[in-house]
Amino acid sequence: MKQRILRPEHIPLMLLAALFCLSFFFVPGFNQSWLFSTVLKNGSYHGIIALGLLPVLISGDVDLSIGAQMTFYSVLCAVFLKNGYPIPAAVLATLAAAVLVGCIEGAVVARWHFNSILMTIAMSMFLIGLSSALNRGVTIFNLPKQLLAWGDRRLLGVSMPMLFWVLAALVIAFILHQTYWGTFFYAVGHNAQAADKAGVPLLQVKMVAFGLSSLFCAVSSVIYISQLGFAPLSNGQDTTYSVLTIAALGGVSFSGGRGKVTLVLLGGLMIGTLTSLFTLAEVSYYYQNCIKGAILFIAIFTNFSKT
């Protein structure tokens, strides 16, 4: 079979690559080296979540609660730290809470055949409410100094967010391609009924997929607050939209069964670049979202034209 190099789902990425090159030469200040590390750092939070979301998308579901989850885990971790928990304990407790939330989502979706979109919307409303209850509607400032110090650490000249981004990609790639869970995700995404008949444990598959998504969300949140030094208050919609844009740019099929780690990694990189570019070129925040929306549209359009 002839392998096509230029596939429709690669078009958005190529467009962005072209944009990147053009900006490099024509936007003043874009070719400075410090900018790259900013770009990478900027894209990493959403990049990590998008990678975690990959198993969910591949198995044919959508998790719209990621934004709310990110807010919730930031607040939860901050509350633990404020209450005097040592950092490792607080982080571990947050990760455990994340796995629990994900498993609940997955179990409900699989057990009662709920639509994952509605289920995760319900979950995000619940989590937003819970986070507001936890922080009483105010931003939690003055997190421990050690956390910030940990966040500022560098390993071989690579900053923490970037390091975790690469690590996340490796972990997800390993799960998808080296373990049988990866095969299960793809099988369920392609044809859940056939997978069920073949003996794939649907309940466990969905629980693992949603659990992974939540876990990566929590990892991203912890890194986020370690960089900022406070737990911001938002309803997380921006996060959800950006992450889904990254996934769409990475050629992930929203009806399940298709998605590659490398492309999602590149998608995250591109969105990070674009955001930095907008800031540099002083594009208004409102127009930024317009342009992002248009990009998402193009990405989905090319995805659909393939199927």
Binding site: T179, Y180, T183, Y186, A187, A195, K197, A198, G199
Partner: protein
């Protein structure tokens, strides 16, 4: 010791038509609940009518403690409740019960005390919420319960429920069963007549199957299954039961001549009567073994078409074969690949191709191989050859003859089955109808 309420000996009734009973013996103990099942015209209602004194038998006698009972005595102690019974529609439930429970020959009871007693009785039958509701406004199952309460109030010793539950839903059946238990606890004997195998039957002490006016079988609670009941009702034993209940018969039937392949052909008498499904559920229910059913549709709808052949085969066994870290190692994949190539005759490249590129025949071979991977005990090929040409059919039959385990080959085509040279059974209504030559 349970005290015997009634013993009917050698009952005979011949009125022509459906009401016919041939020399039937029947007995019921006090406080016992007995199911009376059988096809329409089998003599259930006639028997109940005789026991409740509504009909007089042509010959035979009914004894209580060795003393024959007259029809009037039976009518006093028995009550048959059927769908035709009517209540006083404009009166409330409580008022109805006061009327129903009033015995004309009994001593007069003050109205107030009667009301209190009726109230208590109604709450026992789950009717407390309907006390003041006119009967016209309550659902039919509740009316039936009211009739039951009435029979209890009258001090009846035997209550026959004549097909009243035919239109009940599961919760209503559950409530009726509770009422039956309550009556039995008070020492009342209950006959439950039904032409269907509904859930109430499973809560009775014993079931009597009648057919053509004869008592066919008495089954105590521990020993009846849906399939045995159905087999006695229809007059032939369930094929699944016959095959599984007698292991020796199974051996002679399926392990002939030292040939390792046990097999049997099954041919449904009518394709659309659901016999195959009934047979299969019987097989599953009774054997407790893994039964894999392979239909023609399974060739297409039980595979993930976009995954490779190897990945598809991995799905059912991954968790079993996978090592630590949820990882299916290279060695395991290689083993599976080699075995798959041996068992199915696919080439090395084909194993890595997406499933959608496989032909009908290759799919069949893989289906068979997956059955082996799943450690199937009993295979059922259900019309697997439909939609294939003659050559493929021949091949499929040959391949299915090499499976380890018990094999049933279901087909509507008699000629196809004769090629097996094994036993062939015709199936009807989930039961073994006839062994074909």
């Amino acid at each position: 010791m349970i005290h015997e309420l009634l013993r009917a000996e050698d009952l005979l009734l011949d009125r022509g038509g459906a009401s016919r009973i041939h020399h039937m013996d029947f007995s019921v103990a006090a406080g016992e609940s007995v199911g009376l099942i059988g096809l329409s015209g089998g003599g259930k209602t006639s028997l109940a009518q005789i026991l409740c004194g509504e009909l007089e038998a042509d010959s035979g006698r009914i004894l209580h403690g060795g003393v024959p009972l007259s029809r009037e005595r039976l009518a006093q102690s028995g009550r048959r409740i059927s769908g035709e019974d009517r209540l006083l529609e404009n009166l409330s439930v409580l008022e109805n019960l006061m009327v129903l429970g009033h015995s004309p020959r009994g001593p007069a009871i003050p109205r107030k005390r009667l009301r209190a007693a009726c109230r208590e009785l109604l709450s026992g039958f789950g009717l407390e919420e309907y006390l003041d509701v006119p009967v016209a406004q309550i659902p039919v199952p509740v009316q039936h319960r009211l009739l039951l309460a009435g029979a209890a109030a009258r001090g009846k010793r035997l209550v026959a429920l004549d097909h009243i539950a035919d239109t009940y839903g599961p919760p209503e059946l559950e409530r009726l069963a509770a009422c039956i238990r309550r009556l039995c606890a008070q020492g009342v004997s209950v006959l439950y007549l039904s032409g269907y195998l509904d859930s109430v039957l499973w809560q009775l002490d014993r079931i009597t199957v009648v057919r053509d006016g004869r008592r066919i079988k008495e089954l105590p609670r521990e020993s009846f299954t849906e399939f045995s009941l159905r087999a006695y009702m229809y007059g032939y034993r369930s094929a699944a039961e016959e095959i599984l209940e007698a292991p020796e018969a199974c051996q002679t039937a399926f392990f002939l001549d030292g040939i390792p392949m046990p097999e049997a052909g099954l041919i449904p008498v009518h394709d659309a009567d659901g016999s195959v499904d009934k047979f299969l559920s019987g097989l599953r229910e009774q054997s407790g073994r893994t039964v894999t059913v392979l239909t023609a549709g399974a060739l297409f709808d039980s595979w993930v078409e976009e995954l490779s052949v190897l990945d598809n085969l991995l799905l059912p066994v991954a968790q079993r074969l996978g090592g630590p870290g949820c990882h299916v190692g290279k060695a395991m994949r290689r083993l599976l690949r080699t075995e798959c190539m041996e068992q199915t005759g696919l080439s090395f490249q084909q194993v890595d191709q997406p499933f959608r590129q496989l032909s009908h025949m290759e799919r069949f071979k893989l289906l068979r191989y997956r059955g082996i991977l799943n450690r199937t005990d009993i295979y059922v090929f259900d019309h697997i050859t439909s939609g294939t040409d003659l050559q493929d059919r021949e091949e499929m039959r040959r391949i299915s003859g090499t499976l380890p385990g018990l094999l049933f080959y279901v087909s509507g085509d008699y000629r196809e089955l004769t090629a097996f040279k094994r036993k062939i059974y015709a199936l009807q209504n989930g039961c073994l109808r006839k062994e074909l030559p």
